[in-house]
């Protein structure tokens, strides 16, 4: 079953073309791995899929209304001045908090759960941020470079989890320079000239 189709997508900033004529579709339970060099427009494409940015040309069609999306971008969206536990309380409803706490344990964050998030290491903060996506059920998971800063163990954990979610019928869109080890369709954004 199709979840999203994008037809003839194009985006330009200040009349400089980032990409154009992108056509692809995403089925439920499938993954899409967006690849491309730095500045090729991966993050922009993700933001277009999320509906944050509107494309300069073309359109994105969602086949399921009120699609439930979890997303994590470059910015972690966690509060430095709160503890990890307080952060999770902001993100999750009380009923969902148990799942999130399980992830805290899996990632070994329980021992720092009452310290200021600002004192956590880069990788720990990234893991904390990822719990936002991992601990919720959703129709579509969108991740922008989720593996940056993660150690091998955590990376495998995240990959395994994403694989199991794919099997459950959740769709996945991600960008990553590291091979995610997840069955994905690849979409390559190449540098394009302006002609």
């Amino acid at each position: 079953m199709q979840l999203i189709t994008a037809s003839n997508l194009g985006y330009s900033i200040n009349e400089n073309r980032l990409f154009h004529n992108l056509t692809f579709s995403l089925e439920t339970g499938c993954g899409l791995h967006i690849k491309g060099g730095n500045g090729s427009g991966k993050s922009t494409l993700i933001r277009i899929l999320l509906g944050l940015t509107s494309p300069s040309k073309g359109e994105v069609v969602f086949f399921k209304p009120n699609l439930n999306i979890s997303y994590l971008g470059h910015k972690n969206a966690i509060k430095q001045y709160l503890t990890p536990l307080q952060n999770l309380e902001l993100i999750f409803a009380p009923s969902e908090l148990d799942d999130a706490m399980t992830w805290m344990q899996t990632f070994g964050l329980t021992k720092v759960q009452d310290e200021m998030t600002a004192t956590l290491s880069f990788g720990q903060q990234k893991k904390l941020a990822l719990i936002r996506v991992l601990g919720k059920s959703s129709d579509l998971i969108v991740l922008d470079e989720p593996f940056v800063g993660l150690d091998d163990l955590s990376r495998d954990l995240v990959s395994q989890f994403l694989c199991s979610r794919l099997a459950d019928g959740t769709s996945l869109v991600l960008t990553s320079h590291i091979d995610p080890g997840i069955p994905c369709v690849e979409l390559i954004l190449s540098e394009q000239s302006n002609d």
């Binding site: 509906g51 944050l52 999306i69 971008g73 910015k75 969206a77 966690i78 709160l82």
Partner: protein
């Protein structure tokens, strides 16, 4: 909505610098002013209001400076947008929380200081009401300025919101004079309240459009 309120209140309470800071600066300014002039020469109870009005202006600006930028910079704003889609509620909540935690205490400080500087006890509540409605207006205006200049800092914020705030200062000065001279208070107060409530309803629409543009 209640969820949103508690969340925003929770976040602001944990950012001492953002809510206690402006209040402390206000107290400092109000103490420093009489020290800087020759108190024996001036009639302080006539004079003092001007510094309350100006500090209200400056502190309102300071207090709202990071109202959206904090969420914008760490990426929370786009997460909120993905969940909520309707920024109007979010903006309304944020401004209300800021007014509750900073604006109203600020008005209280202002009216207490005016009482300490010679305003009669039965007129101090009038000052408090005037100051509260003024902070309602100023917070909405400066939140707009802060939303426009979200990642560009204070200079741009001042430039874009000062022209909007100056008429408020005129109105506020007028309102305080009605307390001093003892007539026309209700008229000016209803004008202040009317402007405040209209702005409180309309500004969040404009601010959410601004924030959406920033997220693109």
């Amino acid at each position: 909505m209640i969820n949103l309120l508690t969340h925003e209140a929770f976040k602001l309470r944990h950012r001492l610098r953002a809510w206690l800071g402006p209040l402390l600066i206000m107290v400092l300014v109000l103490i420093a002013f009489p020290l800087s002039i020759d108190v024996s020469q001036y009639d302080l109870n006539k004079f003092y209001f001007s510094i309350i009005v100006v500090s209200l202006l400056v502190i309102s600006f300071l207090a709202t400076e990071s109202i959206f930028s904090e969420d914008y910079e760490d990426g929370s704003l786009e997460q909120i947008y993905l969940e909520e889609k309707d920024f109007y509620k979010v903006v309304l909540t944020k401004i209300s929380i800021y007014i509750f935690f900073i604006g109203i205490p600020m008005s209280l400080i202002g009216s207490l200081f005016s009482f300490a500087n010679g305003v009669a006890a039965d007129e101090t509540p009038k000052i408090f009401v005037i100051l509260t409605f003024s902070t309602l207006i100023l917070f909405n205006i400066f939140s707009f300025g802060s939303a426009l200049s979200i990642n560009k800092g204070a200079m741009l914020g001042v430039l874009v919101s000062l022209p909007l705030a100056l008429p408020v200062i005129v109105l506020l000065g007028r309102a305080i004079r009605t307390v001093q001279y003892g007539e026309g208070f209700i008229e000016v107060l209803s004008l202040l309240a009317g402007v405040g409530l209209i702005l409180a309803a309309v500004m969040p629409i404009i601010i959410s459009a601004t924030l959406k543009t920033h997220l693109e």
